[in-house]
Symmetry: D2
Subunit: 177 residues, 4 copies
């Protein structure tokens, strides 16, 4: 059954079919905010992905992706964490299934703080401590660690697409900052 | 735009198309546990829907339903609460978007405590105080109030379909019982 | 037993004795963020107390106070809400005992974002919708409602004493802003 | 300052003084439910302390203890975890300060599900994954791991003192069981 859960196997939902579904149903997503914690569990750094676009512009993002058919939410979280941070990141998923918030990405701007032009996505958001080495697996992608003070900078947050700056601010708040 | 959000209008996603999507994507749901609270906010009763089937058997259920395309989670909650409790129930939705848990209903039994033969549904679960009069709108449907002690009865919980007894038990725990 | 719970009766813990305890034990507090919500539960305004000091300076504050011996946390919340908002405020306490955060006020600055020169206080923080009329009961005290945008203003938050601006920011985040 | 935080140093609040305070103020506590998790964060076992009394009776308990003056809640959690599980347990404290519930232990039975004849204690409760080796440090104390099914057994829960069976049940619910 495990091959149901790989990214490539989701292709049996053909690209056209996925596009059609995206115009008619909310898509289920997960968002992960990777963090470094000290021995008391206090967050010392928030991880943001840096993407360098073709024209050299840098955009910052959280880890985000779709939950597949018959995939557990936890499995989806691990899959997207591994895809973006590499296989040695050692993420520690929370024991609670409760997300810290639910981010509703609408195709129309202004309904919520979150926006996704392609689709209506509803995302379960989690703060995930990672203990290992993080090496993004894709080209033109890096991971940078921000102290809580740096992550709280409105400029950092405003430069994030789709309203993810709001999600980062909410993650900071939930972690006591 | 509001007609997008009515149950009937979802028919523009034809029954066949919805069936096809159900075999390929997780469906986004909400579950609501209606409660009565006293003036200190303490839950005094949990509401369960009673359905009488054709052969006279009674089944108990929580309020549950799909989130539609471009519908807010809050709007979906209100819509399903009104559909099952009537327009005078006066539900008080939580100020926090955070659900108390996420219930993953799988078409295969045993993956999680939750099961739905028709589909893979991921449901955001909320406890919702209702202050008004509750009158189920459909035939063969009643609402019954259970004290916390009655709701904690394993027999009550085991008689609920799809693992919703587990969700009721989790709602009791979250409310301090 | 109810007279145990009134503010005046706590005087049987004499002022001297309370001062002595404050130097040796963490004090248990509650913080409440009063909000107005619309029919979908979305917060439309955050309430801040305005205190005018002798020299005409205005300070803004959340509702905050001690939990007494043998007093329920819920009862303490209601007591402080009534004391600061009057008897007609109709606060709707959450059904969940879980606070949205725990604020640790230290007598030394810099240990946490929260500071209280008099004592080490640990406060359970709740967002509380209020539906009625709010009339502060004490002289030199007013309640003002701030839209989420106004409440998010760093200037508003920085003007609050003891780090309560951080608590207001966390309440905004928890409510989806 | 660290010597303020050791159990022995709390003796500068003499035994008599602590007794006096216990009759007049709520005491701030933490409760920890140690768990083993698999690589997806799913709880595989709940840890209970077993105490053998002089007459050979076994009682089961959660990890529980007081928060000291000027001690962080996190530090108190770590201190009590280390005291009861030994220095090699490697507890992973949550990044969120939010407890999963607040347990109010009253000296009078029946006010809440929680009871403590000595005092009014208000306890912040956390589920804490532990990754290392657990070796209780005190005589007549052992740690036993229970599967979620075993921990859900009403007999196990009823045999716990002070209502901690209720807290264990709430921890199970919060972890998705």
């Amino acid at each position: 059954m495990s091959d149901l859960f790989t990214e490539s196997s989701s292709q049996w939902l053909s690209r056209d079919e996925l596009e059609a579904a995206r115009e008619r149903l909310p898509m289920l997503y997960v968002d992960a905010v990777p963090v470094r914690v000290d021995e008391t569990g206090t967050v010392t750094a928030f991880g943001l992905l840096l993407r360098v676009s073709g024209d050299g512009e840098i955009s910052r993002a959280l880890i985000s992706g779709r939950v597949l058919y018959q995939e557990r939410v936890r499995t989806a979280l691990l899959r997207h964490l591994e895809k973006d941070l590499g296989p040695l990141a050692l993420p520690k998923l929370p024991a609670h299934p409760q997300p810290f918030t639910v981010a509703e990405y609408f195709p129309i701007r202004g309904v919520t703080p979150f926006h996704d032009a392609r689709q209506h996505a509803v995302s379960l958001a989690y703060v995930v401590p990672v203990e290992g080495d993080c090496h993004p697996q894709q080209d033109a992608l890096e991971l940078a660690w921000f102290t809580p003070e740096q992550a709280a900078d409105p400029e950092v947050q405003q430069a994030m697409a789709g309203g993810q700056g709001t999600l980062l601010r909410q993650a900071l708040a939930v972690c006591g900052f």
